[in-house]
Symmetry: C2
């Protein structure tokens, strides 16, 4: 069972985990959510090798997480990479990573950038909740039932 076979496993956790668990993919998505959209800019800000960048972008295009949209600059038509709705929906994943990082991987008062709710200025936090009773859940509160 090679790594790639998790991509087609009948498990809605394995498949995303295998996709985003490829080297560079999560960092690439971070950059995209921060507004980077062009090949050269990804390459410059992350210093990823060009061939791997090409590959990762293509995988995300194929998975329909990104789309290429044309734009004009200096009268020339170029393309940029933008999130699809599916891609934008990954926001909670990135925010969960950051919420965890803030709690467990922030050495001091360090903070590279701050996020706040545009409307009320409050802090942003990822959490798991019950769709019925709206309680916040931890792993202990959740029961796993085998496939039916």
């Amino acid at each position: 069972m090679p790594y790639s076979s998790f991509a087609s496993m009948p498990c809605t956790l394995s498949r995303p985990a295998a996709l985003l668990g490829e080297r560079w993919t999560l960092l690439l998505l971070r950059q995209i959510f921060l507004g980077t959209r062009r090949f050269e800019d990804f390459q410059a800000t992350m210093d990823i090798s060009r061939s791997v960048l090409t590959d990762r972008l293509n995988v995300l295009l194929q998975e329909n997480v990104l789309k290429r949209v044309p734009y004009h600059e200096d009268g020339r038509t170029r393309h940029e990479y933008r999130l699809t709705e599916k891609g934008r929906d990954l926001y909670p994943v990135l925010m969960a990573l950051r919420t965890w990082g803030e709690k467990w991987m922030a050495p001091e008062e360090e903070e590279s950038f701050h996020l706040h709710h545009r409307d009320c200025g409050g802090d942003v936090r990822a959490k798991v909740e019950c769709t019925e009773c709206a309680a916040e859940l931890t792993a202990r509160d959740v029961q796993v039932t085998a496939k039916r």
Copy 2:
């Protein structure tokens, strides 16, 4: 800037992303949250090569996401890998992946296992919210401010 240097970047999103963005790490964590605790069981259920499994477990031990705890079986002392508090706090990350997978990567009615709130039976969902006004947030609702 090699991949590994993101592990020491002053960004609370980059560091977790670089750690969990290593091949196998997310899948390994999935398995741990599902209850796998022993070397042989990881190896058998994921079919990861033993040397890489050793490496990933060691990284997670070093990062204090996992701990080795002794236990007894047939009168022998062995060790198993268990989540620390820091590790258990990764639950929202995994649930965010799953929530996304349920929405965007579930072909049909397929579901490998079901999760529900132990108390009320409701469904489990990851979301991003404002700590002030408790509104659910998307990327558009969040303002990014540069480091201060």
